[in-house]
Amino acid sequence: MKKNRFLVVGLLASLVLLTTWFSGCKPKGGASQAVSGDAASKVYVAPGKHDEFYNIVSGGFNGQMGIYGLPSGRLFRIVPVFSTFPENGYGYSEESKAMLNTSHGFVPWDDLHHIALSVTKGEHDGRWAFGNANNTPRIGRVDLSTFRTTEIIEIPNSSGNHSSPFITENSEYVVAGTRFSYPLDAEGDNPDVAIDSYKENFKATASFVRADAPGKMEIAFQILLPGVNLDLSRAGKGPSKDWFFFSCYNSEQANTLLEVNASQKDKDFIVAVNWKKCEEYAKQGKGKVKKVRYAHNVLDEKTHTATSTIKTEVIVLDPRELKDIVYLIPCPKSPHGCDTDPSGEFIVGSGKLAAVIPVFSFKKIQAAIAAKTYEGEYDGIPVIKYDAALHGEVQKPGLGPLHTEFDDKGNAYTSFFVSSEIVKWSLKDLKVLDRVPTYYSIGHLCVPGGPTSKPHGKYVIAYNKITKDRYLPTGPELTQSAQLYSIDGDKMKLLLDFPTVGEPHYAEAIPASLIKDKSLKIFKIEENQHPYVTKSEKDAKVVREGNQVHVYMTSVRSHFVPDNIEGVKMGDEVYFHVTNLEQDWDVPHGFAVKGANNAEILIMPGETQTLKWTPSRVGVVAIYCTDFCSALHQEMQGYVRVSPAGSDRPLKFSTGAKKKAEDPSASIKK
């Protein structure tokens, strides 16, 4: 400590010097003045040292999740969920294609907005990260021991799955709500009706998807709601754990020029759902079974292969008949964020166009329901009086409030898009305590553990919509960006800008200690049950089944078996089933074949992956390992000979064979 104190003094002295000297050396940049001198030490993670938190960040329109370290902002991994990923063959390998199957067929690209990390008793448990597909409605599960997408479920009767995949206190359910209401007839179909019949025909739904058993996601029930736009949502916790809260806009029910027509009313709603009651009613058969079609895709850990099943039924609950499952709470001006505090008592609504942040009280909501303190009904659903539900309003917080996260000291942090800032305020007295600018136009924000019962505090991260002049320019399209602020002290302090992939929407951060020791290092070769696995070089072979040629191939540093294959003919479909025999951490092998119309594959130790290749011309084609695996990686290569269709050349394969008798066709004749 003494040494540190000495260093601090020295540091301060040198900072004074440096600041003076720095300002003489280079003109002051406006934004750079926002960083205080000790910022570098707070985000510096020495070579070989680990970060304190994982930051799991949605990739927006790239359909992926980015895995970063905090406080360094270093990017470790991109996890493809709803988009194909040539880097590791996700969506290209024969094993993974089924993950992207839907009732609309193969959808190679979607839009992932929000992350929900699994929780037990309201606290992070480090098991799974869920993400939503906004466009073709789906929810995906990423296993945090492998950082792979292991399950995807499609949401029927839905469109624009935005208020998703937020999670209940013990990971019982993740939810999905329609941002784009659409016509649903009595059978649950999407009939051919006039768009301007919105008010008569269009409906919203909120779906509850069972999430706590891997491989067994199912839509437990759907709630039929008026044709509004469900926007964001949060589960209750503690006293409110049986409830879920959705924000909505467009209570005007406009179907065109929403920027004007959906901004008419003074208040829209927070939709409060008693999911425990819904669960009971669904079990009692009080819902209607609707015929639908949706895909459920599961990756089998033992066969390393995904399967897709189409399901055909869903239970729909109607709150106009089941009177005690849904209540509406008026919320000013097109609410966006809808966030519950760590105690579960407060629900914070953020009206995008509102001048205040309303904070609702769960106790008061319950009292209002008990006393029926309603101002009326909206499409058959009771609307609680605003004042009866309100705990209080944060006055003059800023412009364009979007989202709120919480720390471990009773403070809330709200992002403001229009005034481009984070505002810290106290849950106790709703007073604004501090504000910092963001560069620029913050959308979501994240405090480690911020949406849970046990926030870890320490940092708030801003995910910005505009980067403009913050980085070296790269043409019209600039990097996306996040900013890290410390929230240890009374004042928030900007520490770091870091670039992100895709467009970051919501993100969560979790202590590294909850994940890192559970990370899977290899797939055990003994447990590999892939139908085309090759567990020993002895078993490597090439088998013809009609015009399909199956290559049972092994890879190890630094050769393939087989690496010479002859007897493939034009018109054949060749399947390279490559098993990586390595059992050592961090030794993947790659596989590529010239002219393949899909991608390359990357095979982890003990895993089998398949690349399909249809030869396009006669001749000899090279194959090679694409992941630099060893000193002799450049030697890890081979050849496939493609003969004309109808050739009678038999299949032949080898590795390390010595040349035998002269083959008349072995040399090129002049």
């Binding site: 540190n4 260093l7 601090v8 020295g10 540091l11 040198s14 900072l15 010097l17 440096l18 000297w21 720095f22 050396c25 000790d38 570098a40 030490s41 707070k42 510096y44 020495a46 070579p47 070989g48 040292k49 290899i522 055990k524 070769i525 003994e526 567990k535 020993s536 070089e537 002895k538 092994t554 190890v556 540093r557 630094s558 050769h559 078996v561 025999l581 390595e582 059992q583 050592d584 951490w585 030794v587 060893s630 000193a631 002799l632 390390g656």
Partner: protein, 157 residues
């Protein structure tokens, strides 16, 4: 943490504009950086060390261990080691039990990072083969079965 910022400032700022450096700080900074880097580079050592006293060598050979050893060999060793004296990626296994002690062989299988860090013979082999003997996730019991299979390969009964 505090020390890194000094280093950072002395390296980045003084380096960038080149002026006004105090050699004492700079030297100290460089030393600290070296230490930090060295500390960061320390590799975790995975694997299980096998002690000489833990290995029981008996005759006749245990037939079950030989059979188990063979099946582990087929999956996890054969890609690189032939049963003859031919070297592929690693040396052939013929006479390995005559050249090496059981404790050396078993540690090479279960505890290869330590062997390559400390054992001169293991290091010599790395110079020849240029591929680190991988940790193939073999348990001590399975390594013992492999040893039995090697003994059989070398003609023991």
């Amino acid at each position: 943490m505090i020390k890194y910022i000094l280093i950072w400032f002395s390296l980045v700022f003084l380096g960038a504009c080149g002026g006004n450096s105090e050699p004492k700080t700079q030297e100290e900074g460089n030393k600290m950086l070296e230490e930090a880097v060295k500390e960061g580079e320390k590799k975790e050592v995975h694997g299980t060390e096998v002690k000489e006293a833990d290995i029981q060598i008996t005759n006749p050979l245990d037939a079950k261990m030989v059979a188990d050893g063979q099946s582990i060999y087929d999956s996890k060793c054969l890609s690189c080691h032939k049963l003859t004296d031919e070297r592929i990626v690693g040396p052939g296994w013929k006479d390995v039990t005559k050249r090496r002690k059981p404790v050396w062989i078993m540690n090479m299988i279960t505890n290869v990072d330590m062997m390559l860090a400390e054992d001169a013979e293991a290091q010599k082999l790395l110079e020849q083969c240029l591929v680190r003997m991988p940790n193939q996730n073999v348990t001590v019991a399975d390594a013992r079965s492999l040893l039995e299979f090697m003994r059989q390969n070398d003609g023991e009964k």
